[in-house]
């Protein structure tokens, strides 16, 4: 539970100042610092990023009446349903976070193996 929260909070803060790919650094670092298994590292990285992206995207979507979400859904996926974008956005962010988390855990394992 803890790594998930740390990733969520740290990545949110980082993204206000750094490019979007800072999410990978955050997930990598946190999972390097603390994670039990590869699966958990992936899960924490995925959820930590995906939840933040989903919540922020949803807030923007609701605040602006979904005007742009609708147009972008049509542009990218030829569909008028903005829901798809609200799902794909966290999925992409989550994948980047999850894989970076997994990599963090595996790199840590290399060092842990030869103390």
């Amino acid at each position: 539970m803890l790594p998930f929260l740390v990733i969520a909070v740290l990545s949110a803060v980082a993204q206000f100042f750094l490019p979007w790919w800072s999410i990978a650094l955050v997930a990598f670092g946190v999972c390097f610092w603390r994670s039990r298994t590869g699966w958990r590292a992936f899960g924490n990285g995925f959820l930590g990023i995906a939840v933040v992206w989903f919540v922020y995207a949803l807030i923007i979507h609701l605040q602006t009446g979904g005007i742009l979400t609708g147009r972008m859904a049509e542009l990218l996926f030829k569909t008028k349903t903005p829901v798809l974008l609200l799902l794909i956005t966290p999925l992409i962010g989550g994948l980047v976070g999850g894989l970076a988390g997994l990599a963090g855990r595996q790199v840590r394992a290399v060092f842990a193996g030869k103390p």
């Binding site: 490019p19 602006t64 009446g65 005007i67 742009l68 147009r71 956005t89 790199v107 193996g113």
Partner: protein
């Protein structure tokens, strides 16, 4: 093992992140684009904040207050000129930065920089046409005048103040989609924007096609089929108006002005869908006793919207109207004393000169009995993802050589090429015209403002609260012999050069004509008594005649009756053609469906409205008929392009010369077709084609659906940011000129008087951001033919429930 696993995971993680951070061809960088912190989500906007906003800006001199109304129109209150134009630059960029930059990139031949070598030919065309050369000349012209120099610098500084505030997350969405960043704004970009307008409105040229036709038919038949004045016309300056000046002596045409057209030049043909309407009605014909002025410029309808509404107030100016994003001031609008509007003249201000080079080195060319030096200008075209390309353009005193002979050699020993002489290559200062119009009070102010204007030549309509109305086809017109430039010209003879200019004071103009109104709809500027040559052919007179018919019959004119006239969908051309065409149809042999179609057209009231079926049939029929009459006589060959006589000449032929040889199809050797056969066959083919496309005659043939008016985003194919199949009547040659792609880009009606009131709408919205509620919010009002009241504030303290937000700009 662990190491391998770790490396593998790292590799996957890094690859995915890098892949999502990168643009793949036309596919955007998905990670960056979808990030709610940085991507498109950041472009989603809400309505203007009620609380208002304060922004401090480097470069502004004193505090500026901007009131935004419910349509997001900014009302700018500044304490001096510099701040007014600085603020205009700043707030226009806030709403339209991408559009401003993209259009100037296009004009400068720099699209390849953004999208790669797909745009290379387009860029090369703009470079060869001398767009950069012309923009540099204009900037020179503008900089010579201290007023316009200040305006230009303030406006540019304002735009840069906005660009400086941006970070990737706040870039307009198009930058994110195409993957590039805004660059600093420079004053020459304003010149580029104005050149782009000149290219849109004053670069059409049929010279090559006309030359091919003259070779094909000979001079006599060419003159017969392509006359210099229409069969039916109602010119802008009312026929019979006396000219109150002593004209200059016209230059003498050379004894032999023949040239050949040794090369195929793929020049843009003139686009008939681009035109405009404007008119002003004198106080004696209006309900209030004060003049009313109306204007609707027709352009290619695009998004972000072509125009940007703004009110600019300083201690010496208070003007409202539409501006072009990328140019300072108001282009079409009003102040408390006057109102003005523009339509395109269509003057012949682009000519081709055949150049004779001394030899293959092309260092010298022959002109006026001497070898003269050729200047070289190297144009470097940057290409995204590829090395830059340099293109050397040859310049003669005529202008740049657009087409080089080696692309299609004609004779081995005489290299040939054509130089283009174009008004856009002259130093000019259009900024000054609008600077003065924005502050004008009297008719004399209007005349003075117009004297600075060069291109694209416009019919400037004028009305003021002192009850004057006036109109003037105005621009810098070259002094030519009659028909000079109707055909390609021989560039070795000095007599073919432009021989100076028509004096600005002798441009056609009329003030308070007896009929009580003035109007223009791109038809002939004057009747044949005007002593100078402006062009041999203008837009068809249909819109002009309809407007004049309606205005003549009106009394007690109101803003609303003018609004209705702007939305008039009477098909004037059909009302002239159908009475002569329908009796020619041979009814025996028509199918049931064709008979039904004929009945529908016979019962038509000529209203080209959204549901009209007859309107659909007529529009397709007339273009097929013109094709059937002329295509065999002007065969389409790649290297010898030709055009058809205009529809006015075709109407005359059908009406007065039913036995003319042109009705015979020369492709059928053994028979001679008659007018009746060609009229009937084209009608049948039209109905059959429509049935194939839309099914049996019925609702699916409705005009608006068949036409499919679309307002498209500037990036081709970006349907999601466009408004397609807009249900609106009218079309080409109709007063409400909403065509498939072009139409009324702004409609304005101004009631002058002690307290001016004005109304307007454009198809789109004030914001260029597809994520803004102000992107397309005016479209429905435009479609229905309604207008918004334009709020004209006299002071910043004025209260109005439509003011929604206040923006304060300070140091």
């Amino acid at each position: 093992m662990k190491v391998v696993k770790a490396l593998f995971c790292l590799l996957i993680s890094i690859s995915l992140t890098v892949a999502l951070n990168q643009q793949w061809g036309t596919v955007p960088a998905f990670g960056r684009l979808l990030s709610p912190f940085e991507g498109f989500w950041q472009n989603a906007e809400t309505a203007d904040p009620v609380a208002g906003n304060n922004i401090s800006l480097k470069g502004i001199r004193e505090e500026v207050t901007v009131l935004y109304d419910d349509l997001h129109v900014p009302h700018v209150f500044a304490k001096n000129d510099f701040d007014a134009y600085f603020a205009q630059g700043y707030i226009t960029a806030r709403d339209r930065l991408w559009q401003m930059e993209f259009q100037t990139h296009a004009a400068a031949g720099r699209i390849s920089e953004l999208i790669g070598d797909r745009a290379l030919e387009l860029d090369r065309y703009n470079r060869r046409l001398g767009m950069t050369y012309g923009a540099e000349k204009s900037l020179e012209g503008i900089s010579q005048n201290p007023n316009s120099k200040l305006v230009l610098e303030a406006y540019s500084a304002g735009i840069n103040a906005y660009i400086d505030q941006l970070k990737p997350a706040t870039y307009p969405i198009e930058y994110k989609l195409l993957g590039y960043s805004p660059e600093p704004w420079t004053p020459i970009k304003v010149a580029f924007l104005l050149k782009q307008m000149t290219q849109t409105l004053a670069a059409g040229a049929d010279d090559l096609m006309m030359t091919n036709i003259r070779r094909h038919l000979g001079p006599a038949l060419t003159a017969n089929l392509f006359p210099d004045y229409p069969f039916k016309e109602d010119p802008i300056i009312p026929a019979g108006t006396k000219w109150d000046f002593t004209p200059l002596k016209l230059p003498t045409p050379p004894a032999n002005s023949e040239t050949d057209s040794s090369v195929a030049l793929n020049w843009q043909p003139h686009d008939p869908a681009i035109g405009s309407n404007n008119w002003a009605v004198g106080g004696q014909k209006t309900a209030t006793g004060y003049p009313i002025l109306a204007n609707d410029p027709h352009l290619n309808l695009s998004l972000p919207s072509i125009w940007y509404q703004i009110q600019l107030v300083t201690p010496t100016m208070n003007v409202y109207g539409v501006s072009l994003p990328g140019a300072p001031g108001v282009i079409i609008g009003f102040n408390k004393d006057i109102a003005w509007g523009v339509t395109n003249v269509g003057a012949d201000v682009l000519d081709f000169y055949k150049i004779r080079f001394r030899d293959n080195r092309r260092q010298e060319y022959w002109h006026d009995g001497k070898w003269k030096p050729v200047q070289r200008r190297v144009e470097v075209i940057k290409v995204k993802g590829k090395p830059a390309l340099s293109d050397t353009v040859l310049y003669t005193h005529h202008g740049p050589v657009v087409y080089l002979p080696e692309e299609k050699p004609f004779r081995d020993n005489i290299p040939t090429g054509y130089a283009v002489r174009w008004i856009a290559h002259e130093a000019d200062n259009g900024i000054q015209t609008f600077y003065l119009l924005n502050r004008a009070k009297t008719y004399d102010d209007y005349v003075k403002a117009l004297s600075y204007y060069s291109a694209p030549a416009q019919n400037f309509v004028f009305a003021n609260a002192a009850k004057d109305i006036a109109i003037s086809p105005n621009g810098r017109f070259p002094l030519k012999w009659r028909d000079q430039g109707k055909f390609l010209l021989d560039g070795t003879k000095a007599a073919n050069d432009w021989q100076g200019w028509i004096p600005a004071a002798q441009n056609p103009r009329v003030k308070n004509p007896p009929r009580g109104f003035i109007s223009s709809a791109n038809q002939s500027s004057t009747d044949p008594t005007y002593p100078y040559y402006i062009n041999w052919e203008f837009e068809t007179t249909d819109r002009g005649m309809r407007i004049n018919d309606r205005l003549s019959g009106m009394q007690k004119v109101t803003v609303d009756s003018m609004r209705r006239l702007q939305n008039d969908v009477f098909n004037h051309q059909a009302s002239k053609f159908l009475p002569v065409l329908l009796p020619r149809i041979q009814e025996t042999g028509l199918t049931e469906q064709q008979k039904l179609a004929l009945k529908t057209v016979r019962q038509w009231n000529y209203q080209q409205d959204t549901a009209s079926i007859a309107g659909t049939i007529y529009m397709d029929w007339i273009s097929r008929l013109e094709h059937d009459i002329w295509a065999d006589d002007f065969p389409d060959k790649d290297d010898q392009p030709m055009r058809f006589p205009n529809s006015d000449r075709t109407l005359q032929l059908i009406t007065e010369e039913p036995n003319a040889r042109w009705f015979d199809n020369v492709a059928t050797k053994n028979r001679t077709e008659t007018i009746g056969e060609i009229v009937t066959a084209s009608f049948q083919a039209t109905v059959d084609t429509l049935a194939k496309r839309h099914g049996a005659l019925g609702k699916t043939w409705a005009w608006a659906d068949h036409k499919g008016t679309g307002i498209r985003h500037l990036i081709p194919g970006l349907d999601a940011f466009s408004a397609l199949n807009v249900q609106i009547g009218g079309g080409p040659r109709i007063v409400n000129a909403a065509g498939r792609r072009a139409g009324p880009s702004w409609r304005m009606v101004v009631q002058t008087g002690p307290a001016v009131s004005a109304y307007g709408v454009f198809p789109g919205g004030q914001s260029g951001n597809p994520g803004s509620p102000y992107y397309l919010n005016m479209l429905e009002t435009w479609r229905k033919g309604d207008l918004y009241e334009l709020l004209y504030f006299k002071s910043v303290t004025e209260k109005n429930p439509r003011i929604k937000s206040t923006l304060t700009l300070s140091r």
